[in-house]
């Protein structure tokens, strides 16, 4: 793993959760065990998702792509700067970030842990560039993976940092 990599092989998940709170809880508990987040992280990220949702409708990028969400909370509740990929076996409803009254079926999460929002390139911008600049067929390959190691390898190869 590169020193500054945005991904960690131990922090890639495949979840069969059926709602957004359940998947956030499952992932948060694991991240806490790895000391990547602070004890309040789950409470904070769940509250943030309810008040200011993070679902992204990918149809402006390509109609064939499933929707994603980018759950995150303030830097004070995290201990690192990482993107946590979470593949969802079934779609899970997340509200649309730019139109919160709309619920989107979401197939993949890029959870953002960012304890340094000022210092470096914007992680959300990097995620959006990854979706925009990677071919649709490659992205469909990523979104169909159900093995965390393969997801990690894919992102290490194709996600430009």
């Amino acid at each position: 793993m590169k020193v500054d990599s945005l991904f960690s092989p131990k922090a890639v998940f495949v979840s069969d959760a059926i709602d957004s709170t359940a998947v956030l809880k499952e992932v948060s508990e694991n991240l806490l065990q790895q000391d990547l987040v602070k004890a309040d992280f789950f409470t904070e990220i769940a509250k943030r998702e309810a008040d200011y949702p993070t679902g992204i409708d990918t149809s402006p990028i390509a109609k064939e792509l499933p929707n994603i969400a980018v759950p995150h909370t303030e830097g004070e509740f995290v201990n690192t700067r990482l993107v946590i990929p979470v593949a969802l076996k079934s779609t899970v409803g997340f509200k649309n970030m730019i139109a919160p009254d709309q619920e989107l079926p979401v197939k993949f999460l890029f959870m953002i842990l960012n304890n340094d929002p000022e210092g470096q390139a914007n992680i959300l911008a990097q995620i959006m560039d990854f979706l925009r600049l990677t071919s649709v067929s490659k992205l469909q390959e990523l979104f169909s993976l159900t093995d965390p190691d393969k997801i990690y390898q894919f992102l290490s190869e194709y996600f430009k940092q």
Binding site: P60, E74, M97, I98, A99, L124, A125, M128
Partner: protein
């Protein structure tokens, strides 16, 4: 160069979306020859007093504020996609506000 025109961008955590909008709007307005500064905030910290220090408010979602802002609101969520054709109308709206301020 004309006077600095100040915008606020706000999102839930004040880290990702608002910073992305800040960077994009500052860069594009510089390209267009304007002196624009954007500050990123958490939505919960946005109040009437804070907005009184700004010329415009770049919003990400339709957020219910408990007051009616006196400064122009610009729906800037489309910038997040980083697709030039989606971002252009937002930049054009920002430029319109900047031109109005500069004309005063």
């Amino acid at each position: 160069m004309s006077r600095e025109v100040k915008f606020i961008a706000a999102c839930g955590a004040g880290v990702n979306s608002s910073h992305q909008i800040k960077d994009a709007v500052e860069e594009e307005m510089k390209k267009r020859g304007y002196n624009v500064k954007v500050d990123a905030y958490m939505v919960k910290d946005v109040n009437e007093e804070l907005l009184s220090h700004y010329d415009g408010y770049l919003t990400i979602a339709k957020t219910d504020l408990s007051f009616t802002p006196k400064i122009p609101l610009i729906d800037a969520g489309a910038i997040l996609y980083r697709i030039p054709t989606m971002a252009k109308p937002v930049y054009d709206n920002v430029e319109k506000v900047v031109k109005e301020i500069n004309a005063k």
